[in-house]
């Protein structure tokens, strides 16, 4: 009897340990995915960097992978990415912050609880649909105001990208603003401050790390956004910071090559992995920065 129970206990123990290992394995998939991404991007772009030096990759002012004498200056594609992202953030950061401040400090609880889910629904619209909207609705509208605007341009893509990011920034910033302890607001009210003064001079500075983290995540989103620019911004690589021009971004180029415009296995085919490596590193920096800012706020918040 006793040995049977002991055996049963041993089995149960093994079963429990096995489960724990299984669960840990599932959690490790996240680490493996990151490693997999890094390994694939590095391994596939190594042959490219054997032919093209890092220096010319980073400093060349031409991106002409299909020419007889190809030039690979990633700066050309980055200029498109930077310009469209700048337009998007010029829309998303002020609008998102404004909305977050209104929802957190002025709106009634009921209004906020009905607006936030709607924002979430809108943020869930597929980006390819936003791309259609940019190309066929926003661009013709802008052309009425500015007839010389080309059919493909960074402005329209950037504006729509900004609208797409607004709910994201607003929702994350609102969470940060509402996490500010009530006592801070009450202290300011006791001194006779108005709601706007409290929101602007007390709550926003106190929640700034959380708000800043939402901006950084917004930047990371804008840089990685693919379908809107691929549809509405044109596919011609061009070194420009003028949003009124068409230009390819890093992501557009990857889509263009993947759709089969460039021969498989060639040097220019390898470039998509090099371009994606740049994209991955850029977003990695921004994502880790946002995480670091948020962690710092959590420490800071405990002091408050």
């Amino acid at each position: 009897m006793d040995t049977m129970r002991r055996q049963q206990q041993r089995w149960r123990h093994r079963w429990e340990t096995g489960i724990e290992w299984l669960l840990a394995g599932a959690a490790l998939v996240a680490v493996l995915t990151t490693l997999g991404i890094a390994a694939v991007l590095v391994a596939e772009s190594l042959p490219f960097f054997r032919v093209v030096s890092w220096r010319s990759f980073l400093t060349d002012t031409q991106w002409t992978p299909l020419f007889a004498e190809p030039r690979f200056g990633i700066g050309v594609l980055l200029s498109g990415t930077i310009t469209s992202s700048a337009v998007a953030l010029a829309v998303a950061i002020p609008c998102g912050t404004w909305l977050a401040m209104y929802l957190s400090e002025f709106a009634t609880g009921r209004f906020r609880e009905s607006v936030k889910p709607i924002l979430e629904l809108l943020a869930g619209v597929p980006t390819v649909v936003f791309g259609y909207f940019a190309l066929y609705t926003v661009t013709p509208l802008l052309q009425k105001l500015w007839p010389a605007l080309p059919g493909f341009n960074l402005l329209s893509a950037g504006l729509v990208m900004g609208v797409m990011i607004v709910p994201y920034v607003a929702s994350l910033s609102e969470d940060a603003l509402r996490a500010v302890p009530m006592s801070l607001r009450e202290g300011a009210y006791a001194l006779g401050a108005t709601r706007l003064q409290v929101a602007w001079q007390v709550v926003l500075p106190a929640a700034f790390s959380g708000v800043a983290a939402s901006y950084v995540l917004g930047i990371s989103r804008a840089i990685g956004e693919t379908m809107i620019v691929a549809i509405a911004a044109g596919q011609q690589p061009r070194l420009t910071f003028n949003p009124l021009e068409p230009a390819a971004t890093v992501t557009t180029y990857i889509v263009q090559v993947s759709k089969g415009d460039v021969p498989y296995g060639s040097l220019s085919y390898r470039t998509i992995f090099a371009a994606a490596l740049v994209l991955f590193l850029l977003t990695l920096v921004f994502n880790l920065a946002a995480d670091w800012i948020r962690r710092r706020q959590r420490l800071h918040g405990r002091v408050l």
Partner: protein, 312 residues
């Protein structure tokens, strides 16, 4: 002794400042309303534009025919079937892995370097652009493992893509389960896994479900990773059926079949120079938007009900 004239002037100035502060505040609120109105107008314009252009194409035929070179005869049969089966694979990949990882991090993991490493990775993966997942899939699944541009590849890719969403939702739902439920279970002699499986997971299920639906809604609209793995845009047959009347009755051949999907055909039709394809693009975009909005609305509704019917 105070001079009455001075206090008068002082209170005048104070009153003016208060008026100014009130005006500023009113201006801020009005601007916020204007902003909300503008945002609503933009989204209305989006839906109106798609609806106006695509409505006429939304006939039964559109759902029951394959793609065609002639715009008026092209349909989305292969696309919606493709989306459906890819989503099935995505769910099979992301749900067990995501829930297991969430359970591990909340119920088993001890604070330490490994746990921090996993957590940082999940945070970062949530922000990696979807097109980078596409290149991971191109290098790993399509080429190294030789799975080709198949339904299996697409499902694995999208599964990895939404994994962080499922993990984060699972963790949040598990954290909401009160400690007393675990203690009660341990008190009657349950093991850790019995506690998790029989008490914590059922209590956290609605929250986990919300996260799963939001994740799948995200996956359904993803275009870029499917483009990079080489999903075809023109396909005139369906994947082989998973069931057959003869033994062995079940077949997994469909996993290796080439496919197309709703976002892919939407992209293809949108970027064609021929304007005849625009109504098709709009109609496909409409179907896609409808699917994601319905899924996200279900998630919102589920969360709302969950909050009202809190058991503790």
């Amino acid at each position: 002794m105070t001079n009455p004239a001075t206090t008068d002037r002082l209170s005048d100035r104070a009153a003016a400042r208060i008026r100014w502060a009130r005006q500023l505040e009113r201006g801020f609120v009005l601007a916020a309303w204007a902003l909300l109105g503008l945002l609503a107008a933009v989204f209305l314009a989006l839906f109106a534009g798609v609806l106006q252009t695509g409505w006429e194409r939304l006939q039964p035929d559109f759902f029951l025919t394959f793609a065609s070179r002639r715009a008026a005869q092209a349909g989305i049969l292969a696309a919606w079937v493709g989306t459906l089966v890819v989503m099935a694979v995505t769910a099979v990949v992301a749900i067990p892995l995501g829930v297991a990882a969430g359970v591990y991090l909340e119920e088993y993991a001890r604070p330490g370097r490994l746990t921090t490493l996993i957590e940082v990775n999940i945070v970062n993966l949530a922000g990696v652009p979807s097109i980078v997942y596409g290149l991971l899939a191109l290098g790993l699944f399509v080429r190294l493992l030789g799975l080709g541009a198949s339904i299996l590849t697409a499902g694995l890719t999208l599964g990895l893509l939404i994994l962080p969403i499922v993990v984060v939702a699972t963790r949040e739902a598990i954290r909401m389960v009160p400690q007393s439920i675990r203690e009660a279970s341990y008190a009657v002699g349950a093991t850790r896994w019995q506690t998790v499986w029989q008490h914590v997971l059922p209590a956290a299920l609605p929250g986990i479900l919300t996260g799963i639906i939001i994740g799948l809604a995200r996956a359904i609209g993803e275009t870029a990773p499917l483009v990079t793995i080489g999903a075809v845009t023109f396909i005139a047959f369906l994947p082989p059926a998973p069931f057959s009347p003869e033994a062995p009755f079940l077949s997994f051949d469909w996993l290796w079949a080439p496919f197309t999907a709703l976002p892919i055909v939407t992209f293809d039709w949108t970027s064609r120079p021929n304007p005849a394809f625009r109504p098709n693009a709009a109609a496909a975009a409409l179907v896609l938007t409808f699917l994601t909005v319905v899924m996200n609305a279900t998630a919102v509704w589920l969360r709302y009900r969950l909050r009202r019917r809190q058991l503790w």
